[in-house]
């Protein structure tokens, strides 16, 4: 569908009250639709990375030339969290379906692919992330942005309104923490 968050915002600006109605469902549902479509696709070779999915959602929803860089970062930040929820629930389901399908531990690079191929690992990742959340909310958010939306350091910094240096530092810590938790 060609609905367009930007257009909705602009239409709203032009006094079209109906535009408001269309805004929220668009942002929430589009990503879910994309991700689910992706996850349903069987051929692994065509699995997109979360980056690509989020970009796709962004391209679909926002006219690139009419939104500012902070709006973009916030949009991505929102996507990151949704992606986590979508992928985790998918991985849970998948894990339940293929219990004990012993897979070797390979690093998770594409979390969409991993949700299909290594659901147990993705679920474990989520659990570790929940632990991290209790220690540092910000670090958990940073992991979401970097991992579930494939955002760069700068983008993550913009989305969370912290400095890039903080993102880098937190990311190092968070990654070490997660790897430690997951190797236990």
């Amino acid at each position: 569908m060609g609905s367009d968050v930007t257009q909705v915002l602009i239409e709203l600006g032009q006094g079209d009250r109906a535009a408001l109605d269309r805004l929220l469902p668009l942002v929430y549902d589009e990503l879910r639709r994309l991700a689910e479509g992706q996850l349903r696709r069987e051929r692994v070779g065509h699995t997109l990375s979360p980056t690509a999915l989020v970009h796709e959602a962004y391209l679909k929803l926002v006219q690139l030339d009419r939104i500012d860089w902070k709006g973009r970062a916030h949009f991505f930040g929102a996507c990151a969290h949704s992606m986590r929820r979508i992928l985790i629930s998918y991985a849970r389901m998948k894990k339940a379906n293929k219990r004990g399908a012993g897979k070797e531990h390979v690093p998770i690079e594409n979390v969409v692919l991993a949700a299909q191929e290594q659901p147990a690992e993705v679920v474990a990742l989520d659990e570790a992330l929940t632990k991290l959340e209790q220690l540092s909310e910000r670090q958990a958010r940073i992991v979401e942005c970097r991992f579930f939306a494939g955002m760069g350091v700068e983008e993550t910094a913009a989305a969370l309104d912290v400095s890039p240096a903080t993102v880098k530092r937190d990311w190092t810590t968070a990654r070490a923490f997660l790897n430690r938790e997951l190797s236990r």
Partner: protein
């Protein structure tokens, strides 16, 4: 572990990362000071950091580069020249016959296979290829890697960046100014070609050894739209360097040539004073915005320690630089050329045109900014929509010539602030834990409006109205209603209960009631709204027409056909006059009017109007839009009412998918569309497809709208009809009981709304042999109708009673009931109407019972023709007709013809379960047809099996079972060979 302790662990961890691995142990020991657990924590983290864990290194860039980058397009990569925010630049070369071309290849980070992006890049390249100037690095080529990452190949420029060049060559102030003048000339040239640079900074301004400047990276600029004279679309996302970015750039506003003038001002500031005007090392985006937009830089001269140089800058040069750095684009130099011109005047000792930025001006700006009361965060969005929102509101209120501008601006700003908040959901400090729902966001917004705008009730009312709509669309109906009511109360207080404002709120409230299925309350609100508006307006407007139309639909379903018809007629007149004929609103009103005629039994008028409504709306047009979805639904329903089931089905399916795309799964509009689609599929005999649709719809409706919502009843009854058709009469009867109980509860025992439910509920009872119960229901339904004008409901009731009498074998009673029904059909229905056909089938059945097959056959042939026209195979109803026709042929002694017909019947009945009595009856008849042709061996199993099925289903004493038994007795009686 506590967050505080985690802080401490991290501190040591990061400190350890900084030092040689061999010294880490000592550091940990020292820092943990005997706290063994702390030491373990740090050590295990360090270990995890060194090992390759499950969580791999996510690259810094948003997209991963190809593992080994040997070639980008045709260019062989030599080395990396630099990395920027949005791209990596490589030195690369292309070797052809007898030439080697060195280029700088800029590989963009953002990029993947998207055709739109390709198109943009292509047009970009064409434009930039034409931007030829000795001072601009040429664009050589461009394309995308196989991974879909776009790249540009640009002329490779050797030299130094502007600041480095100035420093290394120890240029004097006037030499620096002369060099800067060259930069201005190049930028001005590009501006005249309608290209804006957007990222001017010293590292993009190269100076070759012979002192010529060359500007890089015009690849990020974007053609100015010549038709509008303003900056149009950017290449991808806005990308700039914060230290050199203009206020409009960091705010995400439209960026044009004045933005480049600002950046030139920063560059000039830097080469003259050796410092940047704004200090924003490691600042967060919000800080950057605050600094760039609100901080006024010191005069460059202040930054210079050397007294001689400071004196050179004081006065004119300070003024020139600060004018270029004005926050307001309109106060900067009008062009790079004007900036250059003032510098030239200064160099020649002429008075410069720039005037110092006065304190009063700045103060004035400050006050203006704060009076609007808009939070800094909201500014971004205000720029996007503030102004136009005001315009929209004013247009709507063109009648009121009050001074609304300030008011409206305030409201616009407020709605904007709320919207900004909605989009801040990624900000963890602002969220409520990690599960922020749309609802929480809205709730927070509403709280703010309550808290902060109590003194501005008109603003509150406006925002409540808007937010109520959002709630409603999220299916949060109670909350929506609360807010709508708040808005109404405010309007009553402010403008009086007879005001147009109040009537608009009543309309919204009515809509909320209607969505919740509270039709009486909705009717009440709508009636009041119509009365107020009719009295207050000299000419009816579109909102009045809209309310009338909505009211019409509710009145129609309440059985108030007369008043409904009036509402639709008035609404239609206004809408046609003000909107023209081709609007979906008109089609909807037409549909309502047509449906009302249909209800009243005025089928010809209804049909004419249906035709008009269909012609008026071109279904094919339009993107997902609530109005388009509704129009699809209506036209689909019109087609169904006109028995064009096949033509209606795709429209209803499209309505379902469009509404599913627009709303949540359990939104009333989605549920409504599901119901209509499911009903259509049932009519098409596609039971297997219809059942999950209806079950799903009913489940959603019961759960989110409630068992007593009209949509739940519609779905429940539709499912019951399907179950009746597929032989599950016990389930069906139970469903109808629920639905009837709900309706009795809501409307009372003798409401017209009950008629059709009572009529339909009799069918499964008849099927289950509960004939007297069925009869009682039919009688009470018939009693509710108007005895003076009998209509379609009476026809249906009579027809069901015919079925009862046929099963009882009371043929005379059946005959007289049927004759009565037939007379209604003759008066009101066309010959091919499904009810006419239904009566025809019953008439034929009666003839068969009376053993007059010659009378039955032509009737059945006509019925068959009519049914086949609208019901695609396989359809059980066609199957029933074929079954009767087969029986008639058999009775005429035409065994072979009967056999063919019955085979067709079997095929049409294949959607029914094998234990359905009709399936058994057809088998039994087929057996008899074979027997009639002297094939007893084939006949016997069919006759036996058929009898068994019929007996199990209808009972051993039923007339149909007794007949099947007789057929079996015939084969047994015939002599075995």
């Amino acid at each position: 572990m506590t967050p505080e302790r985690w802080e401490r662990v991290q501190e040591i961890f990061h400190a350890a990362l900084q030092i040689d691995p061999q010294e880490r142990e000592m550091l940990i020991e020292r820092e943990s000071a005997g706290d063994a657990e702390l030491a373990t924590q740090v050590a295990s983290l360090l270990e995890a950091n060194d090992s390759h864990g499950l969580v791999g290194a996510v690259p810094d860039t948003g997209i991963r580069l190809a593992p080994s980058l040997d070639f980008i397009g045709p260019y062989r990569v030599l080395r990396t020249l630099g990395q920027g925010g949005m791209a990596t630049v490589y030195l690369a070369e292309r070797t052809g016959e007898g030439f080697t071309q060195r280029v700088a290849v800029k590989l963009l980070r953002l990029g993947f296979a998207d055709p739109r992006l390709d198109d943009r890049l292509l047009s970009e390249r064409q434009i930039l290829a034409q931007l030829e100037h000795p001072g601009i690095a040429r664009l050589v080529d461009g394309g995308a890697t196989p991974e879909g990452q776009p790249y540009f190949a640009m002329e490779y420029v050797e030299g130094l960046g502007l600041t480095d060049y100035c420093t290394q060559n120890q240029l004097t102030v006037s030499d620096r100014l002369k060099l800067f003048l060259e930069v201005c000339t190049v930028v001005h040239f590009a501006h005249q070609q309608l290209v804006v640079h957007r990222d001017l900074k010293p590292s993009n301004i190269m100076v070759s050894d012979d002192g010529r400047v060359k500007l890089l990276d015009f690849g990020l600029a974007k053609l100015l739209d010549p038709s509008h004279g303003v900056e149009g679309a950017t290449l991808t996302v806005p990308c700039f360097t914060p230290a050199y970015a203009s206020p409009e750039q960091v705010r995400g506003r439209q960026v044009g040539t004045p933005s480049d003038v600002f950046s030139l001002g920063v560059v000039l500031y830097e080469i003259l004073s050796g410092t940047l005007p704004f200090q924003m090392e490691s600042a967060s985006p919000a800080e950057i915005e605050r600094i760039v937009c609100n901080t006024h830089p010191e005069r460059p001269s202040v930054r210079v320690a050397q007294k001689r140089v400071r004196q050179l800058l004081e006065g004119d040069l300070d003024t020139i630089v600060l004018k270029a750095l004005a926050k307001d684009p309109a106060r900067r130099y009008g062009s790079a050329e004007q900036l250059a011109d003032d510098i030239r005047r200064h160099l020649r000792g002429l008075p410069v045109r720039a005037r110092p930025d006065s304190m009063t001006y700045r103060l004035g700006k400050f006050i203006q900014r704060n009076r609007t009361g808009v939070a800094a965060a909201a500014l971004v969005a205000v720029s996007l929509m503030g102004g136009t929102l005001v315009a929209g509101w004013q247009a709507r209120r063109a009648t009121a010539q009050r001074d609304l501008a300030a008011d409206e601006a305030r409201k616009a700003a407020l709605v904007t602030t709320l919207m900004v908040d909605l989009f801040r959901l990624s900000d963890p400090t602002a969220t409520l834990g990690d599960r922020v729902t749309a609802r929480e966001l809205l709730d927070r917004g509403v709280e703010r409006i309550e808290r902060e705008f109590g003194a501005q009730p008109d603003v509150q009312a406006q925002v409540f109205t808007e937010v109520a709509r959002v709630y409603a669309n999220l299916g949060l109906l109670e909350r929506a209603e609360q807010l709508a009511r708040r808005a109404l109360d405010i309007h009553n207080d402010l403008h009086g209960p007879e005001s147009l404002e109040a009537s608009a709120s009543l309309d919204q409230l009515g809509e909320m009631h209607a969505i919740q299925g509270n039709n009486e309350a909705a009717v009440e609100e709508y009636r009041r709204a119509v009365a107020i508006r009719s009295a207050a307006l000299t000419q009816p407007d579109t909102l009045l027409a809209h309310i009338q139309s909505e009211l019409g639909f509710l009145l129609r379903s309440a059985g108030e056909h007369e008043e409904a018809g009036d509402m639709f007629t008035q609404a239609l007149e206004t809408q046609r006059q003000l909107l023209g004929d081709e609007r979906p609103e008109v089609a909807m009103t037409l549909f309502g009017l047509a449906a009302t005629f249909h209800d009243r039994g005025s089928f010809d008028e209804a049909e004419q109007l249906f035709q008009n409504a269909l012609a008026d709306y071109d279904v094919a047009r339009g993107r997902p839009h609530p109005m388009a979805a509704t129009a699809l639904l209506n036209v689909g329903m019109i087609r169904r009412l006109r028995e064009q089931y096949r033509a209606g089905e795709p429209l209803l399916r499209a309505a379902v998918s469009m509404r599913s795309a627009l709303y949540k799964a359990d939104h009333p509009d989605v549920i409504e569309a599901l119901a209509q689609w499911g009903i259509d599929l049932t009519e098409l005999g596609r039971y297997a497809e219809a059942e999950p649709v209806l079950t799903d719809g009913l489940e959603r409706s019961d759960r989110s709208l409630g068992v007593d919502h009209p949509f739940s009843s519609t779905l429940r009854e539709a499912l019951a009809v399907l179950e009746t058709a597929t032989g599950r009469h016990a389930e069906a009867a139970a469903r109808f009981d629920t639905s009837l109980a709900v309706k009795r509860d809501r409307y009372g025992d003798d409401h017209p709304q009950l008629v059709f439910a009572l009529l339909r509920s009799a069918r499964p009872l008849i099927e289950g042999g509960r004939l007297s119960e069925a009869e009682a229901r039919l009688d009470s339904a018939l009693a509710l109708g108007d005895p003076d004008s009998r209509g379609v409901s009476d026809l249906l009731g009579l027809s069901s009673k015919v079925q009862i009498e046929l099963r009882r074998g009371r043929l005379r009673a059946a005959d007289s009931l049927l004759s009565e029904a037939e007379s209604i059909a003759r008066d009101q229905l066309r010959e091919s109407h499904r009810y006419t056909l239904m009566l025809g089938r019953e008439r034929a059945e009666l003839f068969l019972e009376l053993d007059q097959p010659d009378q039955a056959v032509p009737i059945l042939q006509r019925v068959l023709e009519g049914e086949r026209a609208v019901r695609p195979p396989p359809h059980p109803r066609v199957g029933s007709t074929l079954r009767l026709l087969g029986a008639a042929y058999l009775a005429q002694g035409k065994g072979e013809l009967a056999e063919h017909t019955l085979h067709s019947a079997q095929s049409e009945l294949r959607e029914l379960p094998e234990w359905h009595w009709e399936v058994g009856e057809v088998e039994s008849l087929l057996g008899a047809a074979l027997l009639a042709q002297g094939r007893p061996e084939e006949a016997l199993p069919l006759l036996e099996q058929g009898l068994e099925t019929v007996r199990d289903y209808r009972g051993p004493g039923s007339r149909v079972a007794v007949r099947a038994e007789r057929r079996l007795a015939l084969v047994r009686g015939s002599s075995p060979r």
